[in-house]
């Protein structure tokens, strides 16, 4: 089962090859074609990482944001957290970090001027190792 939060407690960690990961639950009522994701900007301790620089992995697939948006058959199911891979030259230090995510999704049934739908959340998360 997943956390109620969009930003999941599990999966916030440094990557062996550099950078770090943060996991998101889709905070919506249905799974989506992944091409409807306009991206997610991540901020850690005030350091902002632009949506277009962040990689995405859902299930066994992984893409750049641009690649995911071009993949017409990719889906983001409700039960499957997306793993965001964020480039950073230094690993995050062990201990608490203030993590904020702004996720942007396009809803076809809402007038354009009210789009995208933007979800945001801030959490204090732990890098444990």
């Amino acid at each position: 089962m997943l956390d109620t939060h969009m930003i999941q407690t599990r999966g916030f960690r440094n990557r062996a090859g550099g950078g770090f990961e943060v996991r998101l639950r889709l905070p919506y009522y249905r799974g989506l074609w992944a091409s409807l994701v306009d991206g997610a900007a991540v901020t850690v301790d005030g350091e902002r990482f632009a949506a277009e620089d962040i990689g995405w992995a859902i299930g066994s697939s992984s893409w750049s944001l641009e690649g995911m948006r071009a993949d017409a058959s990719a889906r983001w199911p409700l039960e499957e957290p997306a793993v965001l891979t964020v480039p950073r030259s230094e690993p995050l230090s062990v201990g608490f970090h203030d993590v904020a995510v702004e996720l942007r999704l396009r809803m076809s049934y809402i007038p354009e001027e009210l789009q995208p739908t933007v979800w945001w959340e801030e959490r204090k998360l732990v890098i444990s190792q």
Binding site: G31, W33, S108, Y109
Partner: protein
């Protein structure tokens, strides 16, 4: 006058804040059966694992669970995501493909109704023009599969509107029995409920606001009743005195009973998020509806 046969069901949309967080699909469906509902509505993209191609294991479990619990599949929720392809509109062929995929899935899972949520192109929610040619092209398949396509009339759309007139014109022109209206009872809300809890969100980056819509009087239903095939019994909060301050249930049910309407009232809880709230609120609503129907049609046995 036909004897009304109003059956109570639940849409798993009601468990939005709990599905995959505090409840599995099994938990949600068991809860629906336990409260005495007999109809089960799901959202294809939310609740069908590996949508749109569930595994045989998932399908076996779907049928076995419904048999064991005595649940009838009612309506499958579907989306025609016309903005799915960045930088361009959806073509008619692509809209047809989406509708055919969902019609076949609905039929495979035993649903009689398919609710496509259509993309819009204007501030006042005019559907993307692909809806008409795409719908016309799938009516034959809908007929073969005996699945009724029913777009929803949902706030902030209103009943007296061009879109509803266009839907009815399609039915009249083609004579189809496989297209109808789905009424979402949220259109009749007397006061707005501002949902609390959940992840913070906003619509857009500018100052645009959703259109202000007038309160839709329940009497607007009278003219469209012959076209109504399914009801999503949307509600937000039923208080500790079993009173709903938002949706006028007595008035609404009176129209259904007087017209001898038969079909499913499929509950959609859309109130505050919180663990256990959906289960409790759905039971309150079913009690409220059953008591209202006993007053309105005391000779009728509401099933069950």
């Amino acid at each position: 006058m036909t004897t009304p046969d109003l059956r109570l069901g639940v849409s798993l949309y009601s468990y939005t804040s709990e599905f995959a967080v505090t409840m599995t699909l099994d938990d949600c469906v068991e809860d629906v059966a336990e409260m005495g509902a007999r109809g089960l509505e799901i959202l294809g993209e939310a609740h069908v694992e590996n949508y749109p191609s569930p595994s045989s294991t998932w399908l076996d479990a779907w049928f076995a669970r419904n048999d064991r619990l005595g649940l009838t599949p009612t309506c499958l929720g579907s989306w025609v995501d016309t903005r799915r392809f960045p930088g361009r509109a959806m073509t008619v062929d692509e809209a047809v493909e989406q509708l055919e995929t969902d019609l076949r899935l609905a039929s495979q899972l035993g649903f009689r109704y398919l609710r496509p949520k259509l993309g819009v192109v204007t501030s006042d929610l005019e559907p993307d023009p692909v809806w008409l040619p795409a719908t016309e092209r799938v009516l034959e398949l809908a007929s073969e599969l005996d699945v009724v396509v029913c777009p929803e009339i949902h706030w902030p759309s209103t009943i007296k509107s061009k879109v509803v007139d266009d839907y009815i014109a399609l039915i009249e022109r083609t004579g189809t029995r496989h297209f109808g209206l789905l009424i979402d009872t949220g259109v009749f809300h007397k006061s707005m409920h501002h949902r609390t809890g959940g992840v913070a969100s906003r619509l857009g980056d500018g100052n645009a606001r959703p259109p202000l819509t007038p309160v839709v009087p329940v009497s607007d239903l009278e003219d469209v009743m012959p076209y109504v095939v399914h009801v999503q019994a949307k509600f937000y909060e039923i208080d500790d005195d079993l009173v709903d301050h938002h949706i006028p249930w007595d008035e609404f049910l009176e129209v259904l009973v007087r017209h001898g309407w038969s079909g499913w009232l499929s509950s959609e809880y859309e109130g505050d998020y919180g663990v256990g709230r959906a289960s409790d609120q759905l039971r309150r609503q079913h009690a409220l509806i059953r008591l209202a129907l006993q007053r309105l049609a005391p000779q009728e046995e509401v099933t069950p």
